[in-house]
Amino acid sequence: MSPAVWFGEVGASLLAMDWTPAIASKLAPTVFPTGQTESAFAERLPLLLRDAVTGSLPEPWRWLANSLIAIVAIIVIFASLFALLTLAERKILGRVQNRPGPNRTGWGGILQPLADGIKMLTKEDIVPAAADRLLHFLAPVVLLALSIVTFAVIPYGRHLVPVELDAAVLYFFAAGAATELAIFMAGWASRNKYSLLAAMRALAQLISYELPLLLAFVPVVMLAGSLATTGIVAAQGGWLGGVLPHWHVLTPPGFAGFVIFMIAALAESNRSPFDLPEAESELIAGHLTEYSGFKYALFFMAEYLGMCALSGMAVTLFLGGWHAPLAALEFIPSYVWFAVKLLALLLGFIWIRATFPRLRIDQLTRLAWKFLVPLALINLLTGGFWVLTTHWTGGMLVVRWAIALVLVVGPFLALGRQFQARYAPRTYRYA
């Protein structure tokens, strides 16, 4: 095993472990909450499998083993999801562009990620002579570790919450906020002008988009009355007449929050159309210019894992977490629903990447500060209104929806008109 991956995994598990024992007594008595024995066999299958392995151990060791299994399961599942995602992205991009995508390795290209991995592992690891070797090495490791740490608080299913924290959402974004530091380290340590520009861009971009990202989910926290991810998911349970789920995205403030959140998430995970730090047509590869081989692969992995984590959080906050969309479909295990929603969002990321050109850095920051932040602030107001009017019924329900919709759509149209006054399609004259 290369030292980089060893360090990354050990670092990630250390981070995850060191935190849990210190606060374990208070926050998470067991890694997976147990007890709800009434749920279906399929629902409890992961827990049963785990207990079959660790059931015979004495208590403190059992707790440790359970934690380790949770960590290993998350890393393995999301690492293989990362591998499949790289393939899926290339296949989908290919199909969008009227071509097949990678199809020579394995059956229909299914082994392409393996081939990529072998290629990355066997490549020479080049460090520029003038680089800051320590930071150059640490940057991908820190980035990957931080993006793995964020997975700790996402509820993957009814009984699958690795760590239950009182302020889980805050934890998630605190861990995510530190990733920009790693990107900066990469850009700085490379001693390359393109990398340096990319580092500056990454800083500006991530600072700008942190704010709308945080503001966008506040209405959800208000609606759910909890900062814990489990509490937020629990608040979205139930259906209206067995058909209409109580997801936050189906309320006006929740919908606006979802859209703002997804735009900011695109920017936070450096995905097109906000992939400015690694804009290949301007900055070669940005902060990745001087990386090769396995360190490059680690960056790549961290980017995709970050995307998965943000999508998972979006599912938790807005799309009802692991709840089924219809009451009739509840027999399907909750983690399957979570996976379906997660994959749908990831597909959306890829679809957007296949379509849009890239923004410019000043437009990017302007979009955050002049468009998303005002909308998110107004959305706070909408969220407050929505929370205060939960008891309105009958005719007042229509009034409630009307006011909330006006609060959501009105500012959007007003700000959109401002944009259209500056940029609009033109008509042309002929000689």
Partner: protein, 196 residues
């Protein structure tokens, strides 16, 4: 409304994504080694020398007149005319080398050849590990039969055959009254002086 342009774009890419599964117009890849496409008849790659009959070297139409060598813009052709024991030209090339690493497939040698002896090939899989000798084609590599020429450029070859037959007929008509001692061998018209 802001965002309609973005949504339209998304709709177009979605249409192409779905279309790539059922509409051949939206799936244009040809997987080359497994599905070779038919080359158009006019396709040209590198020149080759046409020979008549069975013997590749003896049957070459080339008379080593060196017009193509002079006209070739990148000067990739090198010819040494053959001579018999007495030092008279036999109107055959002793050496006909063509450096395909220099050749730019412009077809000017074909256009200037008065004997229809050099034509453009369609064989393009000529990659080699030897950069120098592997890409320097000699007269033995270049000689290909008239039948092969017919198979790759049927229309053009038919026209060439007509022209050659016409020339032969004229030459015979000219040769018959002139010299009964002259051999029956076709005597091609004298090549004009190569351009200086």
């Amino acid at each position: 409304m802001l965002g309609t342009g973005l949504l339209k774009g998304l709709a177009v890419t979605a249409k192409n994504f779905v279309g790539s599964f059922h509409d051949p117009k939206r799936y244009t890849t040809v997987e080359y080694p497994e599905q070779p496409t038919k080359l158009p008849e006019n396709y040209r790659n590198f020149p080759f020398l046409v020979f008549d009959g069975e013997q590749p070297i003896d049957g070459l139409r080339c008379v080593a007149c060196k017009i193509c060598e002079a006209e070739c813009p990148p000067q990739c052709i090198y010819i040494i005319p053959d001579r018999d024991e007495k030092g008279r030209p036999t109107k055959k090339p002793k050496v006909f080398d063509l450096d395909v690493s220099v050749c730019m497939s412009c077809q000017i040698c074909v256009e200037v050849c008065p004997f229809d002896a050099i034509k453009m090939d369609q064989h393009f899989e000529i990659a080699t590990a030897d950069r120098f000798n592997g890409l320097l084609l000699h007269r033995e590599d270049l000689a290909k039969s008239d039948a092969y020429y017919h198979s790759i450029h049927p229309t053009e070859a038919a026209q060439v055959d007509e022209i050659l037959a016409e020339a032969k007929r004229k030459a015979e008509a000219k040769a018959k009254p002139a010299a009964p001692a002259a051999p029956a061998a076709v005597k091609p018209p004298e090549p004009p002086a190569p351009a200086v």
